[in-house]
Amino acid sequence: MKGTIVINEQVVPNVRRLVLEAPAIARHAKPGQFVILIPDAEGERIPFTLSDWDASEGTITIFYLEAGVSTMKLSRLKPGEAVYTLVGPLGKPTEIEKVGTVLLGGGCYGLGGIYPLARAFKEQGNKVIALLEARTSYLIYNEDKIGEEADEVIIATADGSRGVRGHVWEAIKILEERGEKIDHAHFVGCTYMMMTSSRATEPAGIPTIVSLNSLMVDGTGMCGCCRVLVGGETKFACVDGPDFNGHLVDWDNVFARAGAYVGEENLAYQFHQSRADGAIKDDGCKNCGKEAI
């Protein structure tokens, strides 16, 4: 499990695709699970959703947004080099059943993250509608791959340059207006998108799952850093999740905990930027046109 890099390329501005050698993970991965890696010897343990895997090749794929120090370090690694450590697959796999029509909404790295879900829900005989959102048309990626699995792909852009003008939740309204009966929804992406999308499915009572991306350390249930409030109960996202009922998640708490280290993250970024040439900092997440969380 050396974590040797096969591909590390930009797919759209700020989002990169990373293919790593990881035979044991590739063999055991299930949709909805994630890995934790450390880019270099001084690095942090950071979680990434498994966006694809190939057991015969022994590789896994993740998509990552260049957000701060860890992802900046990751972006500099070249094929043939290896990440410092890599562990997985972690977390509970997503429950995949035949329910009828399944809506999968992805934003940011979630355009990668929903692909295994699309494949698995399709295999179970569901009708799969995939909703991909981005700030503008050229930030959409992974569309063709998802299209191979989904019955329908809907694009939403904040600036209206392609598809529906707006976000996932606006696209959900359009689906409802056209009389689509949705039996199950699952959202992967930034917290803001997952929250607003969950709100959009609540009135119609559509069972909704979100894949939370809380801050984590060990990822094995040992530290409690990743705790979230769901239906009034404290859960550990790394072992009880990352999937939770989007209508029961305490979103204020998720937002607050996500911002626990904003000051330190900035300091670390400045610290590393002053050492490295050519690093560019995007102020927060511009991928879907919303404020950084």
């Binding site: 942090e44 562990v87 060990d218 094995t220 249930g221 040992m222 705790r227 708490n253």
Partner: protein
Amino acid sequence: MGGKTLTAKERMAIPRAKMPEQNPAARAANFEEVPFGLTAEQAMLEAQRCISCRNMPCVAGCPVGVHIPEFIALVAEGKFAEAAREIKETNVLPAVCGRVCPQEIQCEEACTLWKRFGGVSIGALERFVADYERNNNLVKIPKKDSSTGKKVAVIGSGPSGLTVAGDLVLKGHEVTVYEALHEAGGVLIYGIPEFRLPKEIVKAEVGYMESLGVKFVMNVVVGLTMTIDELFDELGYDAVYIGVGAGLPRFMRIDGEDMNGVFSANEYLTRSNLMKGYLFPEYDSPLPPGRRVCVVGGGNVAMDSARTAKRLGADVTIVYRRAREQLPARSAEVHHAEEEGIEFKLLSNPVRLFGENGRVTGMECIRMELGEPDDSGRRRPIPIEGAFFKIECDQVIMAIGSGANPVLTKTMKDLELNRWGYIEVDENNRTSMPMVWAGGDIVTGAATVILAMGAGRIAANSMHAELMGLPQPGTEES
């Protein structure tokens, strides 16, 4: 000195040795080890204090029965490396145990001299000889038995797993240790701080195991990265030992615990020790220094958290619901914590945390008094009605114990657990599954390094017998 024989009276007249230490003000600002260890002269003098009691109460006080008078006699003769080897007959990690064992309730308390003169400093001597052996490159690789052709998997690289691995590799088995984290050592690496147990020592011990031929595979969460069935059926292991510890943090379930600034001790210490958060931003994992930190609990974990917070620059208060005499931490740690200026709010229990914008700003506590003894024999703390008080703080560290982590055990349908989720074992540490043994904190609940090692030794003997078709230890024939 070695040749001279002293009378018992002369021996007892020697004052008990004390390790020199960094002074409290200096050490509260660094992460270097607090005691410097004995010098060779001090060690030899201290060894003279031992009167070689025939009934060896000290040995009975040690959970693994270290050959205490024998090793101490070797120290008295200046045969330090030999003394270290004598200890290693029963305890493979003397440099660790010498530092972290609660000697004051084990070997030293049992020592004949304890009451009147202070027990022989067995822990300090143990530490000294182990350090001497390691620092002078005198660690010898013992002779291994010839290969048995049997393969053993050890899950978890804490002290109990390391003991099993070390024992079985010497008996000629092929041993692989699987560890979920990226470094080996369990709590010795992620929990106990550098200033109490330098990580270089843990690394040296792991390196020693490697030199014996133990294979370490990091970043494997058994149950997720691979299953127990695969270990047997696909990877061809003949036996498995489970030593996954009790790494499930407990919270108090009081209001406000989900706020920022509230940590489990596991998170706080892991960020500091494993992730080197105290060296941020040289290392990327943040561990923001608090200004006023409250640590809830009274065990070693609470002391370690408090002293870490202190070293990061905070004013620290330990909040504990029982009285001073009932603090479960090693007495040396309590003493060190007090010297370093950590405040103790005893007979106090948090009932609620306050905060602003999702960040903790204070804690409400209730005062307690001692009532009737409870199951543990200690007088039970009961809240004094209406006696609430507030403490301002910007960080809270919960060090109130841990439970059984179910990540592995829930994937093993045939494994019997007790009602708290710990693994049920027999007197030889066999589980309900064939060829699967378990020991350490995942069997007993959070305990001590030496007990985890003792369990590992029992299991290793039983595993060896089973693998070789010999009678189980403790049975008639053996």
